[in-house]
């Protein structure tokens, strides 16, 4: 591996790992929430895994996801 590539990896690795840590914290929190809701009888076990959006909900999800990715790309392009 050449030196410039090493430098790029060294620069971005802590950022990626920090984001990965935060993502894991959120995954752990969502899982805890699901389990507590199931224990308290608010949510059936596995209900979120099996959830299927309606066409209307899917259209809203697609719209939101487009915006999410577009914002990410705008950041990549420095806008």
């Amino acid at each position: 591996m050449n030196a410039p590539a090493d430098a790029e990896i060294a620069r971005w690795s802590p950022v990626v790992l920090a984001l990965a840590r935060e993502l894991w914290v959120i995954r752990d929190r969502v899982r805890a929430m699901e389990q507590l809701l199931a224990i308290q009888g608010t949510l059936a076990a596995g209900a979120i895994d099996r959830y299927q959006p309606t066409d209307e909900q899917q259209a809203q999800l697609d719209h939101d996801c487009d915006e999410f990715v577009s914002r990410l790309i705008a950041e990549m392009r420095g806008k």
Partner: protein, 355 residues
């Protein structure tokens, strides 16, 4: 069979679909920047390869290219594994029903094993994986990649194109139909719906894709006969079919194989029989910018035979191979897709088949 994905797989597929839409917009941005810089779409005496290389250098220098490439490369690399992972999350739930659909009036003879042609062996078409890269690859490709990822960004029923290709045919019924490159069976469905009384046979090199076609056939109570065989070497007797049809097969095989396919079709067609193939649009029918992008996408997107296929004049090739008449043009309808080859074998009984 509708495969209801778990939340993780479903949201991941949604994310990839969004990437596809945003990537298209990024591509348009690159095109605008390219045109703003005065990129010359024509240079004298330039080959497709030279132009493609010049185009690749020019797009790489545009401000939007890095983000476009990042999106495209990640999608190309990850869509296959993500689709397989999404299926694996629901495998235990759906596998029994999928396996039951292998039993029924549609039969499958898969005896080719590893005896596949070199042009097919180990090629990761579309960078997804090989056509047999997962034990339920027909479901993964047909139901998740094609229907949920590609189809969602296609503005309607992606399989409608297959039905529009059939409008070129001369007759309203056929006795024996052979489909070449059956894949996961969606063109077979179109043939079956259009010609419900026909005896339908299908061949493909991928056992996993044929297994999914078999499920679609049994789901409909259809009696298709499916064989794991090469389209250029079907093994069927001379003059045993009235119609030989294919969809999206030509650009997946080398030019030499495409010529062999036409020769084979001519051999197994009865006098007056028809050959119909719907596929991607040849370069000669595209505007220069679309052509540059199509070649760029093919060269970087796991389409090893696309360029040679898109340079063929298939009407001329079909006549060279011995068909009496051949027409190669856009499918009828507002979408102008796919491009369709319709060729007719001479009817020796009457001496000539009109166009």
């Amino acid at each position: 069979m509708e495969i209801a994905l778990r939340q993780r797989g479903r949201a991941s597929v949604d994310f990839l679909s969004a990437l596809g839409r945003v990537t298209s917009r990024e591509k348009q941005a690159v095109s605008r920047e390219l045109q703003g810089r005065g990129f010359a779409l024509h240079e004298p005496a330039e080959t497709i390869g030279d132009r493609s290389a010049r185009f690749a250098r020019a797009v790489a220098a545009t401000p939007s290219f890095d983000s476009f490439r990042a999106l495209r490369e990640w999608s190309a690399e990850r869509h296959g594994p993500i689709a397989m992972e999404a299926f694996d999350e629901v495998r235990t739930e759906f596998a029994p029903a999928l396996d039951r659909l292998r039993v029924g009036p549609t039969t499958l003879e898969a005896t080719l094993g590893d005896q596949v042609p070199d042009y097919y062996r180990g090629v990761a078409f579309h960078r997804t994986a090989t056509w047999d890269g997962h034990d339920y690859m027909g479901v993964v490709h047909g139901e998740i990649v094609h229907r949920r990822m590609v189809g969602r960004n296609f503005g309607g029923d992606i399989y409608q194109q297959r039905r529009s290709a059939l409008q070129e045919l001369l007759h309203t019924s056929y006795g024996d139909i052979l489909e070449l490159g059956t894949s996961s069976g969606n063109f077979t469905v179109a043939l079956s719906e259009q010609f419900p009384d026909a005896r339908i046979t299908g061949v493909d090199l991928s056992r996993r894709m044929l297994e999914q076609a078999q499920r679609l056939g049994n789901e409909r109570g259809a009696s298709w006969r499916l064989f794991q065989r090469a389209a250029e070497s079907t093994g069927f007797p001379d003059q045993s079919f009235d119609l030989v049809a294919a969809y999206s097969l030509g650009h997946e095989v080398p030019e030499t194989c495409m010529r062999q396919i036409l020769t084979e079709a001519l051999r197994i067609l009865r006098p007056g029989g028809e050959f119909l193939m719907g596929d991607v649009i040849p370069y000669a029918a595209q505007d220069p910018l679309t052509q540059c992008w199509a070649d760029f996408d093919a060269q970087t997107g796991g389409e090893p035979y696309w360029r040679e296929f898109c340079q063929l004049d298939l009407a001329r090739v079909a006549r060279e191979q011995g068909f009496a008449t051949a027409r190669y043009d856009f499918a009828r309808g507002p979408r102008r897709f796919p491009y369709v080859l319709h060729a007719v074998k001479a009817d020796t009984a009457v001496g000539h088949v009109g166009s």
